[in-house]
């Protein structure tokens, strides 16, 4: 059985390859100039759950920030203010490690969260 790509899919694949730089444009050698360029790669699409902050319960102990493997806890002026949903993978470590009784972070279904966003 042959797997046939739609015209739209074929064009998108072609575009993806064409968009990338050729060998003459790339820096010479296996070199990435600059640090932290991974920020441009979005891993938020991996999630099936997402963390929701309950600000009134949060004591800004920074435990979630310390343990987040994806640096996805946003801190402003010494306070946890939310999550970087472009990178959060929904592992749930933040909720699990939150020391507050009753938790200041709640993991909810990504599907439901997305659906309610659209409304």
């Amino acid at each position: 059985m042959r797997c046939v790509l739609s015209v739209e899919q074929k064009n998108m694949a072609k575009k993806n390859i064409e968009k990338k730089p050729g060998w003459k444009e790339l820096p010479e050698g296996d070199l990435i100039k600059g640090g932290g360029t991974a920020r441009e790669f979005k891993t938020g699409g991996w999630r099936s759950k997402r963390p929701i902050l309950i600000p009134e319960k949060c004591i800004s102990c920074m435990t979630c920030w310390m343990y987040c493997p994806d640096s996805a806890v946003i801190v402003k002026d010494g306070k946890v203010v939310g999550f970087d949903y472009e990178h959060c993978k929904g592992c749930g470590i933040c909720e699990h490690e939150c020391p507050v009784k009753g938790k200041a972070i709640k993991m909810v279904s990504e599907k439901e969260a997305k659906a309610s966003e659209k409304k």
Binding site: E28, D30, I32, K33, G34
Partner: protein, 392 residues
């Protein structure tokens, strides 16, 4: 022209002398016969404080090249020396050094690869790494070894490819010769300072070296390395011209010895070329139009130029001091045949695989080679490989 100093040195001593004058930032090395002396002598320079080099006595050759990669990526000049099994052990890292485009310079003292284990000269170790992306320069004698090491530093940094300079194990490495050396000042001036644009110790500008390429980028990076190899040919020629201006000694992609009007020629690299020159002279005196083409640069292989140089010959013998185990010819012969073919030159080319494991190659043997190929051109063109000097 720069002032010359005449001294007596063996091949290894001459290489060590060149390294002392180059004064690299890091030397990381592991001993192996017959290359050991190069770094041993150099370690003496370090102990006496005559060089600024940080010497890293690593625990294996693989670690030697790894440390050189670390030092070079960090922004400094890194050098090492090895042979045979040592070169084989660091093979993985040699490919990596070339892929990372690091200008490391390595002195390879040509020695046979095991098995059987053998400490004497043949070219199998260097030939093993011919596809690694390293520039490979063969030296005929100690003088060339010294001169090539100095040029290698500039070649590597301009081409952004690592360079290996080879000398024949024991024959050259341990043979005492009269050599002319430059002053320390002149060597420093010739090689200049290494100023990479991106390097690890520049912590204010972080970089990542050695990333993983998925199929969407690997090919482009390899294409860059291939182009660098192609472009390095002109770099080598220009550095050679500069060196000639300083010393009067000629360094091109290959050397032609009485080749222009020759009818029968040998293509030979390394010390055997020296022996062949003696034979060419004596055969010429007897009336044969013998000649020699001595490739100096094996990688990149100067295909068009060599084909051009061989185009008027009646027959050619290629001397291969290693076997490529393809059931046919050795590596040098394959390159020569491809070069001739692409120029539409159909000539009798006979491959002589010789000297493996340090088997002596004598004046008589080379004379026999010329006699054999001079007989060939009268019959139809043949393609043959012969094992010269093996007991049947």
């Amino acid at each position: 022209m720069a002032k010359s100093n005449i001294i007596a040195r063996t091949g290894n001593e001459a290489m060590a002398e060149a390294m002392r004058q180059i004064d690299p930032d890091v030397v990381a090395a592991y001993p192996i016969t017959p290359a050991t002396e190069i770094v041993q002598i150099f370690a003496g320079y370090v102990a006496d404080g005559v060089v600024k080099t940080e010497f890293v006595p690593v625990e294996s050759e693989h670690s030697a090249m790894s440390a050189c990669i670390g030092a070079s990526a960090a922004g400094g000049r890194a050098m090492t020396g090895t042979s045979s099994q040592g070169l084989a052990l660091m093979a993985e890292m040699l490919y990596i050094a070339a892929g990372l485009r690091l200008p490391i310079v390595l002195a390879d003292v040509n020695r046979a690869l095991s098995s059987p284990i053998n400490i004497h000269c043949d070219h199998s170790d260097t030939m093993m790494l011919k596809d690694s992306g390293w520039i490979q320069i063969f030296s005929e004698n100690a003088q060339e070894g010294y001169d090539n090491m100095i040029q290698a530093v500039r070649i590597a940094e301009k081409a952004k490819l690592p360079v290996m300079v080879t000398t024949d194990g024991f024959i050259i490495s341990h043979g005492m010769e009269r050599i002319e050396i430059l002053s320390d000042e002149d060597v420093k001036k010739f090689i200049g300072e290494y100023k990479p644009e991106h390097y690890l110790l520049k912590v204010e500008e972080p970089i990542t070296i050695g990333a993983l390429d998925l199929p969407d980028y690997y090919f482009e990076h390899r294409r860059q390395t291939a182009q660098a190899m192609i472009d390095s040919k002109s770099v080598i020629v220009n550095v050679g011209k500069d060196f000639t201006a300083k010393t009067g000694r000629s360094y091109e992609l290959f050397e032609k010895y009485k080749l222009d009007d020759a009818e029968f020629a040998i293509v030979a690299m390394g010390s055997t070329a020296g022996t062949t020159k003696v034979v060419v002279d004596s055969l010429r005196a007897k009336g044969m139009k013998a000649g020699l083409l001595k490739p100096r640069v094996f990688r990149p292989f100067p295909k068009e130029e060599i084909a051009e140089a061989l185009k008027n010959l009646k027959a050619i013998a290629v001397m291969d001091r290693s076997d490529s185990m393809n059931g046919h010819e050795g590596p040098v012969c394959l390159e020569v045949k491809a070069a001739l073919y692409d120029k539409g030159l159909n000539k009798p080319v006979v491959d002589y695989i010789y000297g493996l494991g340090g088997r002596e190659i004598r004046v008589q043997d080379i004379e026999d080679v010329y006699k054999e190929i001079s007989g060939l051109s009268r019959t139809k063109a043949v393609s043959e490989v012969k094992y010269l000097g093996v007991r049947e």
